[in-house]
Point group: C2
Chain length 445, copies 2
């Protein structure tokens, strides 16, 4: 691909170059540009048709976009901006430094500027911020033939074209129809007779994650967004919904690993920012684990007279942490997939307790065997203390792994923060306490 | 919705009922059925048009599907099965118990049976298992008008209709064209003049996750699947791709929490199976943490003469674990999003070491302050030992959090297994060792 392009550029066959570029998928341009020198990139970019140029532009990462904008003349920039979808334009404005934003806004058509300002005003993470205001709207008294004429005239991108919305005079949505149904229908039939009047809509202020999840449930290509007066103001398309789903999942992974979520990519984030995103939870968790240390302090006389007790502390702490994180991960994921709900609390807890008893007993048996082998068969008391603690710790860890995310959900917090790091630290204190308490009782220390 | 349905059923207005049901999205039927009694469900299901009945059927969960099949007569079942897409039919056969499968296969048209058998033969997790064999194929000498006639005649579902593939006589794929482009084109133009000859395809044996990721990169609605001879054999549609992405992410979450991944839902998995999926890693990790215990054993004389040393063990273990899991999560996610590659190893490592130094110093300072407050300002040696260990442990944890997933990737294993549980356990041994070694040196124990 690269060789062919360079050859066409060198031979100055620009028409052929344009034709060839048309056949390359826009999503492949970023990696292509990475391999080319800047003057070649500019030649290629300037030769693209204006629709393709806009499409390619939205695929580039913000750094490349900024660089490109700085190379383009105002006229060229205007052409690109005019051909962007509103949602992509808003994304661009949100990513660029202020001097670039100024240049972009200067080159936006005045009538478009107000739409963009409206879109920029929606609160973060709402449907309003990810919707586009370009869509095909039909009237109920149009025929199928009229509708096709209108679709052809608007000639939008494929994400926005295949679902058409039927509006009243005051832009309230009363029906939805797929291009597929239009294709099958008699050209003279009326839209109102073939549209589906049962339209599923979202509101501009709905959480973007909830909107994205609807694409997973319903096989939509787009979902209509209405304002408070139930007027259609935009649509969210499936490509943006997939992006939101991916972002939210990344956020969950980060939260569950005690990292403060970050929109930027790993390499783009500076060392200082990485450190800042991680230190908050680390300090909090470190201070929490002081409690565990304090409990150990309390049993100083016990472990000084029986030092072997100390060597089981890591095993108990690790096992407790692992059991807790297994359960909390399953519960947190269950929530985010709407598989587990708050009302299932007792069902989940009861299941986890039974799992815990099974797992705990197996772990205790394996560990008893290991104690007998390592320290001799006369260590029944030690095996008893460690084994009993293991069973109790597993039950406790799995209970907390289920209770804490549920509690967070109940308090309308994000359950993902109740993931392994926090649960591990809490379970640690409990397991150390149970362990030494049992040891003191059984060994009579 | 429910009240209206019950009223229509009671009044026996079946035509009106059918019309109303048409307007309800198929994805809403499962929750609707959950609220209705079985006889009502059957009435509703029997009244549906045959296309809607098939659509609704694919939305139901396997339990409900099985129940429904058992209620349907052979003729009814035949109608449902005939209207299913091949990929949904294959899914169904894979989910049902053998007696139900027998009944399904008995009611499949003989010519379809061979297609199903072929699809069933593809290895697990390949593109072949998630593709459907229904698509719109055109010839290069057809006109746009011919193409619309063909699309109307085939009349498939919307996922499969909007991208058409241009094939040669021997079914090799030579072009792709969107319905949108057909709509805009002159009805008399030839397909070969307007199709895009640069087709992105996948092979039947490609990993389904890689295929699904292509939907994230390119804004496709469907991707063509070719066999070894480059003949088009099916397409993967975006709805199935989203399902695959969700499944794979769930698997990653489970692996990273030391749970063996499981296709079934939380509630459908039995207590025994839950226990089995969790015990394997727990035993392995428990045995690993024996090493940490052994190291503690070695320093028995040190902590017996200075028992306060023990109370910092939880803090060091927890912090090490948390730091390691922060890094490993970011690296594992970076891999799965193709943001981090193997060749970036030194770049990532160097970044992590700098982050670790920053984070380690801050944690050491906070902890020093706390030691001074809790134990008095004369505890400089203790503060030094714990502080130094903290810095070293954080560097070590973040290094391992980057090295181990990279190593797994290099060895063509899944990096997700190198997540927090395993890294925590490994970091634990190292931190206990470093800690006591430093203590022995600095306190001269």
């Amino acid at each position: 691909m690269k060789a062919k392009l360079l050859k066409l550029i060198e031979e100055q066959k620009l028409n052929e170059l344009r034709k060839y570029l048309e056949t390359i998928n826009s999503a492949d341009f970023p990696s292509l540009f990475e391999e080319l020198e800047e003057d070649k990139i500019l030649i290629i970019y300037r030769v693209l048709t204006k629709e393709k140029a806009a499409e390619v532009f939205t695929e580039l990462d913000p750094d490349m976009q900024e660089k490109l904008i700085n190379y383009l003349t105002d006229t060229e920039l205007k052409t690109v901006v005019d051909n962007l979808f509103f949602d992509d334009e808003v994304d661009l404005i949100e990513e660029m430094p202020s001097n670039v934003v100024k240049r972009i806004l200067k080159n936006v058509k005045p009538e478009d500027r107000s739409v963009i300002n409206e879109l920029l005003a929606y609160p973060e993470d709402t449907a309003g911020t990810i919707m586009t205001t370009e869509f095909v709207d039909l009237k109920e008294n149009m025929t199928v033939k009229d509708s096709f004429d209108k679709i052809r005239k608007i000639g939008l991108d494929k994400e926005t074209i295949y679902t058409c919305y039927v509006l009243t005079i005051d832009r309230k949505i009363i029906g939805v129809i797929d291009v597929k149904d239009l294709l099958i229908a008699d050209p003279d039939s009326l839209i109102k007779d073939i549209m589906n009047p049962n339209v599923i809509t979202v509101s501009t202020l709905d959480d973007q994650e909830e909107v994205a999840k609807m694409f997973d449930k319903y096989n939509f290509f787009a979902i209509p967004v209405v304002d408070k007066e139930k007027r259609l103001v935009g649509i969210v398309t499936i490509d943006d919904a997939i992006d939101v789903l991916q972002e939210e999942i990344q956020e969950d992974f980060e939260k569950m690993a005690a990292v403060i979520p970050n929109d930027e990519s790993y390499f783009k984030t500076s060392v200082f920012k990485h450190a800042r995103n991680r230190i908050v939870w680390l300090i909090l968790l470190m201070l929490t684990s002081i409690i565990t240390g304090g409990i150990l302090d309390n049993y100083e006389s016990a472990f000084v007279s029986l030092p072997i007790l100390v060597s089981f502390v890591p095993l108990l702490m690790d096992t407790g942490g692992n059991c807790g994180s297994q359960t909390s991960t399953l519960v947190i994921r269950g929530f985010s997939q709407d598989e587990i709900r708050l009302k299932d609390f007792f069902k989940v807890w009861w299941k986890e307790i039974r799992v815990a008893v099974l797992v705990g007993i197996v772990l205790a048996l394996v560990n008893t065997l290991r104690i007998f082998i390592q320290y001799g068969f006369d260590q029944t008391k030690l095996a008893l203390v460690v084994g009993l603690t293991l069973v109790l710790v597993v039950i406790l860890a799995k209970s907390l792994g289920c209770i804490l995310p549920m509690l967070a959900k109940k308090l309308k917090m994000d359950p993902a923060i109740m993931a392994s790091p926090l649960i591990t630290t809490i379970v640690d204190s409990c397991s150390v306490f149970v362990y030494f308490q049992l040891a003191v009782m059984i060994f009579g220390l």
